[in-house]
């Protein structure tokens, strides 16, 4: 018993030595900056001057009262929820469609995938042009009267951004679902069929549970990605009209940099990191437990 223990200890030490290099690099490049931000968040530093005056937690208290910060969160949350739902549903739907035996499956796959090779900054720029110049032209051609000016109104800007974001990413997540679908053993379906399950029942009782790992990856990926949305906004709406599409990161950036309130902005980022952590943990826990059940 004792001997085994020391053996395990010895092994553990070796294992740990293997972890150290990665940990050091990670700590320097990521954790130290975060700690620095934590430190700045209790100061009234402007990002430029030498002195960084300590102000305690007053930045955090002010955050609570900051209506613009609340609005930025509200937008970010709506954007995240919409993306998580729309993106997952359509990615899965398209994957199922591609997997249903249609011809030239690879061509569709490629076409749907290409947009995610384009960086988000470019995507935003292109969709701004599409909404304001190109699509309205369709109305003239077809004599229709569809409102394409989605970025021009606070009520529609969210939909406009969700569409642009989905155009970019659906293909990516679809691939993951597609691979998941193609790995589902066919005997499971046969068995379900024998049991008299309808196509829809088979989908929900066989396909979905078997896709659980893919769903976990997609949901967590889309949620955390959407909560961090920034690049897409910079070149499209710039956070407008008004503040209708200002995301948390965007607000952090403008507060800390152009607004010269680095301390206050740091408090915002610390808050964001904290919430991101929370969301991801809850999601992974919840989804993982579902995976186990199935």
């Amino acid at each position: 018993m004792n001997k085994k223990k020391t053996m395990q200890d010895k092994m553990n030490l070796q294992y740990f030595l293997l972890v150290v290099p990665g940990m050091v690099i990670f700590t320097i490049g990521v954790i130290l900056p975060l700690l620095l931000a934590l430190r700045y968040s209790v100061t009234s530093w402007d990002g430029m001057s030498v002195e960084k005056e300590f102000v305690g937690i007053s930045n955090y208290i002010n955050l609570w009262k900051d209506a613009n910060f609340r609005q930025a969160w509200w937008f970010t949350i709506k954007f995240t929820i919409a993306n998580t739902i729309v993106q997952n549903v359509f990615a899965l739907l398209f994957a199922v469609a591609l997997d249903s035996g249609i011809k030239a499956q690879k061509v569709y796959r490629t076409i749907l995938f290409i947009p995610c090779l384009v960086s988000a900054v470019i995507v935003g720029f292109v969709w701004l042009k599409l909404y304001s110049n190109v699509l309205p032209e369709l109305n003239e051609i077809f004599g229709t009267n569809i409102n394409f000016l989605l970025f021009g109104d606070g009520k529609t800007v969210l939909s406009g951004l969700v569409i642009a974001n989905n155009w970019q990413w659906i293909g990516y997540w679809m691939l993951i679902y597609l691979a998941g679908l193609q790995s589902v053993p066919s005997d499971l379906y046969e068995a379900a069929k024998v049991d008299g399950a309808s196509a829809v029942q088979r989908f929900f009782n066989v396909t979905i549970p078997m896709l659980a790992p893919a769903i976990t990856i997609c949901v967590v990926g889309i949620t955390t990605g959407s909560l961090k949305v920034y690049d897409l906004l910079v070149s499209s709406t710039g956070g407008g009209p008004g503040r209708a599409s200002t995301s948390v990161i965007q607000m952090i950036y403008s507060t800390a940099i152009s607004g010269r309130q680095y301390g206050y902005g740091s408090a915002m980022s610390v808050t964001l990191v904290f919430i991101l952590l929370l969301v991801a943990m809850v999601q992974v826990k919840g989804l993982k437990s579902k995976e186990v059940q199935s």
């Binding site: 990002g47 249609i102 690879k106 947009p115 990191v273």
Partner: protein
């Protein structure tokens, strides 16, 4: 919709009967594909127009003559050879080191026993969630103090540091696919810990490495923030940084901007199209291992 599923790879798709329902799905997907292509068509179309055409004619109208001059300007402004080489170099080196480091770290974490390893895992995973945009000043400060800014190894270091979280997370989820018995057998044969990894584990992780390498390549290839912080000197710039500055500076010069988009997207698209099979296999293996 046909929900009939079968085991099998993408290649044997045609085993499924082609029914009327399949045809309907095909039709719907064709419409979807056209919609997805539309923005790309617009980019291409704009990139060949003159400035006047842009303002005075319908955006859907094809250009009267192809304005290759837009591309000339874009190529010149992007300084393509340098920026492309840089981006390629940073991406490849970072990704290879990352794969090596993440593999061994994740393995050690999953095999080690005790709280310290659990803690290490959580510690790494936190990194996935950190919004770097918000931390750019401390990131720069630290990089500067360590003489990492405006150097090639500096940016590579940062890509590794910021990519390691996701890498460890991903590789860790693959560790269950490596049978412990094999490792134990190796150890009984007198293999050291490190040797066990390279002889036994490493070969088994190949699909996982493919996933990691491909997903990280994407990230690093398209990265704007770190590149703009760490390598702002002309000779060290990356493609994304170059296109972004072209973009912001020429916001009103859409035709050049659109040509630049095409130029910047083309290399990676060709890469994707020619390596598609490996791409997709690598990208998705994580989703199916269950």
């Amino acid at each position: 919709m046909a929900f009939i599923k079968r085991a099998g790879k993408a290649e044997d798709v045609n085993q499924k009967p082609y029914t009327l329902r399949t045809f309907a799905v095909q039709a719907v997907m064709t419409v979807v594909a056209v919609l997805f292509l539309f923005p790309l068509f617009v980019i291409l179309n704009y990139s060949f127009k003159t400035k006047k055409e842009l303002y005075l004619t319908s955006p859907l109208k094809l250009p009267d003559s192809l304005q290759w001059a837009n591309y000339e300007t874009a190529l010149k402004k992007l300084n393509l050879t340098t920026t492309f080489t840089n981006t390629f170099l940073y991406t490849v080196i970072s990704v290879l080191i990352l794969a090596f480091l993440c593999g061994i770290t994740a393995w050690a974490i999953s095999r080690g026993k005790g709280r310290i390893f659990q803690f290490s895992f959580i510690y790494f995973v936190i990194g996935i969630l950190i919004p770097f945009q918000a931390l750019f000043l401390p990131i720069y400060t630290i990089g500067y103090k360590m003489h990492l800014t405006n150097t090639r190894y500096g940016i590579i270091f940062m890509y590794i540091a910021t990519g390691i979280s996701f890498g460890v997370f991903l590789m860790n989820s693959f560790m269950t696919t490596v049978p412990l018995e094999l490792e134990e057998a190796a150890r009984i044969d007198g293999c050291s810990v490190v040797r066990t990894y390279f002889v036994i584990v490493f070969p088994l992780l190949k699909p996982a490495f493919a996933t990691l390498i491909i997903m990280q390549s994407f990230q690093i290839w398209n990265d704007y923030l770190l590149a703009s912080l760490y390598v702002s000197k002309k000779g060290l710039k990356t493609l994304t940084v170059a296109i972004q500055s072209l973009f912001s500076a020429q916001a009103s010069d859409y035709t050049t901007a659109m040509a630049a988009i095409v130029v910047s997207v083309l290399p990676i698209s060709i890469l994707f199209l020619s390596l598609q099979k490996y791409f997709i296999k690598g990208m998705t293996v994580g989703a199916v291992k269950g």
